[in-house]
């Protein structure tokens, strides 16, 4: 392996937020032409470390050395000038600007006289997107019209545009499906060939082993160790991260499957929910697989009353219902944990306590008054039950790490004691430990008779947790596969299948 001198090295980095020591004395370095994976549970401090490396946060202590010289980054501009580019975990794009503008913003190719060369901007964006195998994205489209996955790619193109020596990617694959992950990994390998050093954060072990040259593990803001990839295996990494071994990522609980709770017949909404029919039974986990943009989220939104169905029937426990608002869905016993945690799932400025009680605030009230005591009690119980890592229940949820935020969203919806729980990408960006915990929670729920509809882009998760798999493509169901028959190949084929006319 190359033993080139590190291009960037960080030593003794520490950072505190109010009341929380996010990072304690961590050292880290990246060499040119390597992929250095950064691992750790949610809240371990990965993003914090990265933000200091890219000039967004100023460290409380520690030194940054670039190419042998000690530097201080006053802003992201300094880091950028030093050859460090970042794809952040929270996508930082500008909805009203076009794809091309987003890619080159702050870094436009100029013509003499300082004018922006717009032709060049568009052409180079096109080239970058092509490099990412993203031929179907219009460089003049406004970003607000793109899906999450498409935005992700714009974000990567943006980082690539800077011809960086070091590219930091904070969970770049969190919202990508398998085939896109493969494409991305190809890109990463190409960059490595070109001598770019890559910092790669992911909670997906398979990617780590497929890409990384070295791994560094953080735990609770502390430095656990840096290893060559050859020295470790999955179990070893997991125990470094969690501090204990984990038996199974997909603890499939055997629950008795009961009567049909939800029955959907010929459901339609717009172009993305077309003639959908399926049924869901008590104690069952129905996995929903599909490519990005296949319309899985739209299906969930229709069931949840956000985008009421234009036609079709929904039967809940034998009664025909028309669901026209989330509130009504909730009253009927349907809960939805959305895919976009920050925007849809949580009120980030509000305390954990208030978020937990939010979906069923009536429940925590006598008359119109909120019972603050009971609210606190329940929140405390939820925090304990899901082992949410936080200072106290008065902490704003925005300050928690991704996985812990996700647990709060799930806790919120479980307060409504739903009959049907729709989980949209329940473990996106969630670390192995928390992922296993969330899966365990799902197991407990089905044992209590809850019916779960789980949308996931992570095939192992779909296969590992589902009793049955529903595959969606282009807004239509293209496969319904029992657990026993659900192999990656079969599901994968159905995902890319078109509905075969009216033939079958």
């Amino acid at each position: 392996m190359n033993a080139a001198a590190p291009y960037v090295s960080l030593a003794g980095m520490s950072k505190s937020f109010v009341g929380i020591k996010a990072l304690k004395d961590v050292s880290f370095d990246v060499r040119p032409g390597e992929v250095h994976a950064l691992l750790g549970e949610n809240g371990a401090g990965k993003s914090t470390l990265i933000k200091m490396m890219s000039g967004l946060y100023a460290p409380d202590a520690g030194t940054i050395t670039v190419d042998g010289r000690q530097v201080k980054f006053a802003s992201t501009r300094d880091a950028s000038a030093a050859g460090i580019a970042t794809v952040y975990q929270e996508l930082l794009l500008f909805p009203e600007l076009t794809v091309a503008e987003n890619v080159f913003l702050g870094n436009y190719p100029r013509r003499p006289g300082g004018w922006i060369d717009w032709g060049e901007v568009r052409a180079r964006t096109r080239a970058l997107l092509d490099q990412l195998d993203t031929f179907d994205l219009d460089v003049d489209a406004k970003v607000l019209t793109l899906s999450v996955a498409q935005r992700q790619r714009v974000e990567i193109a943006k980082a690539l545009s800077k011809n960086a020596r070091i590219l930091i990617m904070d969970e770049p694959t969190a919202s990508l499906v398998e085939s896109d992950v493969q494409r991305l990994m190809t890109v990463v390998r190409q960059l490595r060939e070109r001598g770019v050093g890559i910092v790669y954060v992911s909670h997906r072990m398979s990617e780590i082993f497929a890409l990384a040259d070295r791994v560094t593990v953080l735990r609770d803001g502390g430095f656990v160790g840096t290893r060559d990839i050859g020295e470790v295996d999955e179990a070893k990494l997991v125990s470094m991260m969690v501090g204990r071994p984990i038996d199974s990522l997909f603890p499939k609980a055997e629950a008795a499957i009961g009567d049909t709770v939800l029955e959907v017949r010929n459901l339609n909404h717009g172009r993305h929910v077309r003639d959908i029919s399926f049924s869901l039974r008590r104690g069952e986990i129905l996995g929903v697989a599909g490519l990005v943009g296949s319309g899985r989220t739209e299906l969930a939104l229709t069931l949840f009353g956000m985008t009421p169905a234009t036609s079709g029937e929904i039967t809940l426990e034998g009664k025909a219902v028309r669901i026209t608002s989330p509130r009504q869905a909730r009253d009927l016993g349907i809960a939805y944990v959305p895919e976009d945690r920050g925007q849809q799932g949580l009120v980030k400025q509000m305390a954990i306590r208030k978020n937990v009680s939010m979906a069923l605030i009536e429940h925590f009230s006598t008359g119109i008054f909120i019972k603050a005591g009971e609210e606190a009690q329940r929140a405390l119980a939820a925090v304990k039950r899901f082992s949410v890592r936080c200072r106290n229940i008065g902490q704003a949820v925005g300050e928690l790490s991704g996985g812990n935020q996700q647990k709060v969203v799930i806790a919120k919806w479980l307060e409504t004691s739903p009959k049907v729980l729709i989980l949209d990408e329940p473990t996106r960006g969630v670390d192995v430990g928390a992922k296993a915990e969330i899966h365990t929670i799902m197991g407990e729920l089905v044992k209590q008779g809850v019916a779960i509809l789980m949308i996931s882009s992570e095939l192992p998760e779909v296969l590992g947790m589902s009793d049955r798999v529903l595959v969606i493509s282009g807004g239509c169901i293209t496969g319904e596969i029992a657990r026993a028959d659900a192999t990656p190949e079969r599901v994968g084929m159905a995902m890319t299948a078109h509905r075969a006319g009216e033939a079958a």
């Binding site: 802003s75 500008f94 600007l97 075969a500």
Partner: protein, 334 residues
């Protein structure tokens, strides 16, 4: 029902997608501007049928030129709003600047000094506002509400409301013509075009949309958000200064008071012109068109003999109609 037919993974399409047609892009990028323009054209058509004098050269001058100063002020306001801020003090500022300008002109300074002064002072005042917004992180509406009181109170206590008369004829540039067109009209058009191009194609202009769209992301992208925020307020101050020149040189006297409700008029022009009040979108073409729309409405209602008592109600209705038309247009697009 379920298909078993399997296609191979999608074959690689040819690089590049077709760009949507010119008209479609025009509609999606300038939808609100077109709505406003449509409203203007419709009004012109209807009123001209009633009274052809409506499109006489004189009346066109009155409509386009008489409110040019509002349009110029609205350009700066549009930029501020695009950046995600607002300024409710601009009316008071223009009152103050007009007094400064007129006082200098009467005191015998060269007219270019009297013209330059409001621009510079406007920039200076707004620099302070910008610093308070950008670095002290006080919401712009709070800062400018405060500034409104300070400027308004200050103007009265300094001038006591004495009017400025005896303005030197050279000073009255708004009454002159260039190329046979009134100066205010030319100024409005030139400034609008320049500002529109600048906002559309310059790096600085684009960064304003970025800041308004997502300030946090702008910071992470390396845009100096604070400096740009101060800069946009300073530019807005310069436009307020330019607006002041048109305002103060239109008549042979300058009223040393704050023009009533000017700030609301300017803000309304910007937002009806399509500048999103949440920041991040809109153009100065829209704000100028909206100013012209208001001027057209004001003139049209006199021409069609709407009872003066109901005038304001009709204006309100028309504004509301424009807003709703835009909302429906947006909705039909989604």
């Amino acid at each position: 029902m379920m298909t078993t037919a399997v296609d191979l993974p999608p074959t690689r399409p040819v690089s590049g997608v077709q760009r949507p047609g010119f008209l479609r892009r025009l509609f999606s990028d300038y939808g609100q501007e077109l709505v406003v323009l449509g409203a203007i054209v419709a009004l012109f058509a209807v009123v001209t049928l009633v009274n052809p004098r409506f499109v006489s050269a004189n009346n066109l001058t009155t409509i386009f030129s008489g409110n040019a100063y509002i349009a110029v002020a609205a350009i700066g306001m549009a930029m501020v709003i695009v950046t995600g801020h607002i300024d409710v003090s601009v009316g008071a500022l223009i009152g103050v600047l007009a007094t400064i300008s007129g006082t200098l002109a009467v005191a015998g300074y060269p007219v270019w000094v009297a013209w330059l002064a409001p621009v510079l002072v406007g920039m200076a005042v707004n620099a302070i506002i910008g610093v308070l917004v950008a670095y002290a992180r006080i919401p712009s509406i709070v800062v400018t509400l405060g500034a409104l009181s300070i400027l308004r109170g200050g103007l009265i206590s300094v001038t006591g409301g004495t009017w400025i008369t005896n303005l030197p004829p050279d000073f009255l540039i708004a009454q002159k013509d260039v190329f046979g067109l009134p100066v205010p009209l030319v100024t409005m058009v030139v400034l609008t075009v320049l500002a529109a191009l600048w906002m559309r194609f310059s790096a600085f202009g684009r960064s304003l949309y970025a800041i308004g769209g997502n300030a946090e992301a702008a910071l992470a992208t390396g845009i100096p958000v604070e400096r740009r925020t101060v800069a946009v307020f300073v530019i807005h101050g310069a436009f307020a200064g330019l607006a002041t020149i048109l305002f103060a040189t239109q008549l042979q006297v300058i009223q040393s008071t704050v023009p009533p409700n000017l700030e609301l008029t300017v803000i309304t022009a910007a937002v009806i012109g399509g500048v999103s009040i949440l920041g991040g979108s809109g153009t100065v073409i829209g704000s100028t068109l909206a100013t012209i729309l208001f001027a057209t409405i004001g003139s049209a209602l006199i021409f069609v003999n709407v009872s003066a008592y109901w005038l304001r109600a009709v204006i309100g209705l028309l504004i509301l109609a424009t807003v709703l038309a835009d909302m429906l247009r947006r909705r039909s697009r989604i």
